[in-house]
Symmetry: D2
Subunit: 354 residues, 4 copies
């Protein structure tokens, strides 16, 4: 209802604001007997945390995950798994000058319209920091998937108009933009630094591949696997679109092309180009699930810009704070987390059927 | 769980297959006291039904909606509103020759993988006919929205590589492709007929505009308004992607551009280009909500093509049946219905907050 | 939300009023591959239908179940199973004289308070007739349970102050009150006829036993098996209470008594008296689940009585219609149905854990 | 699904075990703008905490509530309200001798059957300590209700066979058993001490009254107000039954009696004896909602008793730990909490209708 709970069986509740005591999640429905330690969670949190490279915000947050419940002697017990991440580097004063302004591109006005009250310190619940709880929950889902040989890998496919010509998974974590291509990654870094130095920001595209899925996951009507992945990914701030397989290119294709060349692979029907993106009729077909998400350029930029204030007048503001000049590098683990949550849930849902 | 229920407060359950007794829906949570007749539903069903023009399938289905419950003396009572649409024009024999084949682009193999059993007659639950129940439910939502001066209007923006240069709502229902531009509509019709005569099909893009929304709808975290609309739209068969406002173009923009020129309009903050697509931080801002959905070309084409059979061998099949050479014209009311369901739900959810 | 959907995995939506076109249900989450025919459903509907004996209302309703979807070639397909029961014997005019009165013991005033609108014909959605849809859905659940050797058996334990001294399952369906004891059943019949002839009605207690459950069903916190059974049973009109195993008698016992004599039975821990009622800590222990429901005397009685009208004045009314002088006999299949729905759901939920 | 989430709009997720880092709750759907401090929560926690009197367990737990999120400048923000209670007085060693035994009356065997793994320290998630999180959440609901002049008051109605002859709310918090009658309270205290000294425990009945409810809360079918209250109350450990208004006594009444003497009170229909317990047809009628819950005697008793071990042999064990000789006194705030959660939820749900 109020939208802080996600999933049907592997069900995550998140809480917390950017400038309060902390944030975290409770996962109900984690199967019992799974090995889990706080290191499993920390690993992904570290990939999301600020200050990790020259192209991310210089804010420092340790983002330490504490498991509060649901694990006994190193194993999940089947009871709710609660994870807490305390806030520490809070510069609330950075936000005092914008208390009376609706920042362009931010949820300031809409949040106030909805709730009639607003924690103006860094966006509160609308802050990107909220995604730390998603990543923590996603890390548990990823561990669950790893035990079934299912991997979720995301990367920066394009950024500021620059695209990678090919994808090499082994490059992704070697460069700060998380691009799957060494040379293009360097160009992308330069693009970000250039934008940052100009007091600006850039957008990009994050692509994800889910490999190892069995055929038969997802539901045929309202909960098609694409529908749930789209819900998951578009629930992340700053995402403007999603496409699966052929995506928007399908709009310009003929049926004879899109149906593709049919082959039998690993004992099941497949196609040469995977235009379906691994999902047909809402249900996985055993091929890699492939989707792309459009990431808008960061709304918080250093340049002075016009903004509307509470008296509904336009005047210039300067956003202090410390912000990412491009969201893609830190978005990669967030999108992986959201996709992992959907897939873990789909696997558990499928157990009720077969 | 099994994905045949949609929505939180305005909650729709659908049922039915293409070749059984019929299909329909039950809506729980329709507010009491709303005027409603079966004509309100029929109007939208007629826009979706097959055989309505030269560019749709020649199948004839009367698609008459019967309201089974929830209306008394012309008004909704607050109890579940059940609607039944009987099937009548069923040519199950058209499907007998493909019983042992997995049709390219269809859910045949994935459905069987999931359920271990399959109604092969026209796709059963995976048939596009399933959307009739969505349109019936959506018609009730649209009536609810109309009383609040909210309209949902979809149209064919592009088709087979042809796009409209501008949007004129008054043209949409005047041409069989439901394009918002008279001249381009004629080109699109020719494109469809050309493809059909070649035993092929074409894809396209459907755009939708939701006008009249108050600011404050949608939730800030998992149930962002985009997330729920994306879930709704990608739950429709043959949709490969969705984008809001600037969409994928945002990936190539700078923050200073995307933040746009800020203005005050109707006493609230707005922007010149509505790159946000009417939603910021997951919550409506009072501007038009704008999204585009990529529609793949129809999978059922008349030309002979390769397919895999149950023995996992590739051989040629011919799909008889009678199919739409382009899904866009009939997809328009389906997308309107799904969007209307999300918005009606969001309005009722917001009543629990303010 | 609006409370017409029940269950988590085996999820039932019901619809319909006593005097509209009909009523029915849609079950989402029925596992595929289960044999099912409309006769399976009819059998239980016939046990619930009016006019079946001298002690029930003389109203005649054929209550024929039509399966609209979800079954193909005699087996469930995993898609929603919709069942429709048309209304036919409607004497709406019986209710015209009470249109402006709030009948004692009925939901007339509360329904109007909630919805601001009311279908006064026989209670509309608040009519006992609404339970026909529950029985139809419950019949599907019972079929599912039967395949797992789980039975749900309810019977009239007490009625108008008369109790059975012992329980013989084989007697239940042999007498019109569904008491598990031949001689006491006759006394109960006399008691009902006596009350009816005096223009009055009597209450009673229905007990249910669920036999064959494995240990491990139910959840440890909010969804304890007792909690869900209590929810299910108290959602039936006219039920005033429920107790499990020792029930209210536990309030007067010592811990040393209630812990009971511990034994090992069928290779698992058990107790001599089953004070636990087959559930410990919210989870089934493998013993029979036993509960009792208190059934109030029918509110609709033939004698003239005082009632409040819409002008908030008290005056005498006479309720015409045709009503059961005791609800227990027809309540038995309804309680079985509700219990079966909870257990089928619990079994499917448990599949997500182990 | 896994049953650690409760409610539809005012939705509570709880987590935590008796012997881990701590326990707590996240409430999604708390309306914004409500005054709330940790003292509001502490007040109720103190009424539940162990060691508060001579008749409760001597265990000492400070049970300090920390609000982690959802409150800004003393007011709720509409975002998730997370509350954490750290564990501190943990004597895990008390449980080492029973690690291999299934304690009589406890969830040891059933928990293991369900999850295949078990935290044996004090019951883990099945511990009564789990209710602290419910009381914390309930305190927020009670604050919400207080602002609407709705009160939820529970008390010990009977205990070890002793019942109060009349109810005086002002006495409840003046005696350690929370009985609404000074003299009888003293008898009850003696009864508890006597049982404790004999290494035994006693059961009782807790009654609750919800006063100030408007007519129109609750839903007519599956989510009748009794059904949700029953679900809530029977989800608390050690509760064996619930009854509303006339309750089980209704089973022996005539319809003419149970319909009661009809009167007009406060401008609405009412009755002299409130046999309905304030709810008709599942919807509140404006009278006090009255229910009684049967509380079994504490399963953990000091006397030696037989138990089954993991090898399925019966032998004698001694339960060390420190336990309440009667659960009623500390059960009172738990039942109030659960009832408050249901009512707060019902009020918010009703906002979607009228």
């Amino acid at each position: 209802m109020a939208g802080n709970i996600f999933g049907d069986v592997f069900r995550v509740t998140t809480f917390g604001e950017s400038h309060g005591a902390g944030l975290g999640c409770v996962i109900d429905g984690v199967p019992p007997g799974m090995l889990l330690s706080s290191e499993d969670i920390q690993k992904d949190l570290d990939r999301r945390k600020p200050g990790q490279s020259e192209v991310t915000t210089p804010r420092k947050e340790s983002d330490r995950a504490e498991i509060l419940s649901g694990v006994f002697e190193g194993k999940t017990t089947g009871t709710p798994l609660a994870i807490l991440i305390r806030n520490n580097d809070q510069r609330s004063q950075d936000y005092s000058n914008i208390q009376d302004f609706f920042r362009p591109g931010h949820a300031d006005y809409t949040f106030l319209s909805k709730f009639g009250i607003r924690d103006h310190r860094g966006g509160g619940r609308s802050s990107g920091r909220e995604t730390a709880a998603r990543v923590a929950a996603g890390a548990v889902a990823r561990k669950f998937l790893a035990a079934r040989n299912i991997s979720v890998t995301a990367y920066t496919l394009a950024l500021g108009g620059i695209s990678v010509p090919s994808v090499d998974f082994s490059e992704i974590e070697k460069n700060p933009v998380r691009a799957p291509h060494a040379a293009v990654a360097q160009e992308m870094v330069r693009k970000i630094i250039e934008a940052r130095d100009a007091g600006d920001s850039v957008g990009g595209i994050v692509e994800a591949q889910i490999i190892g899925l069995p055929a038969g996951l997802g539901d045929p009507v309202f909960d098609k696997l694409e529908a749930k992945l789209a819900h998951a990914v578009l629930s992340v701030g700053s995402i403007k679109g999603i496409e699966f397989g052929s995506g928007f290119a399908a709009a310009g294709m003929y049926g004879s092309q899109h149906n593709d060349e049919v082959v039998v692979q690993n004992g099941r029907p497949s196609t040469v180009h995977n235009f379906a993106g691994g999902i047909v009729g809402g249900i996985s077909n055993g091929d890699a699930v492939v989707f792309r998400a459009a990431v808008k350029p960061t709304s918080s930029i250093a340049s002075r810009q016009n903004a509307v204030n509470r008296s509904m007048q336009v005047s210039q503001i300067e956003i202090k704070g410390r912000h990412d000049p491009c969201l893609c590098p830190r978005m990669v683990p967030v999108i992986e987390a959201m996709a992992a949550l959907v897939i873990a849930d789909a696997i558990l849902i499928q157990k009720t059927i077969a």
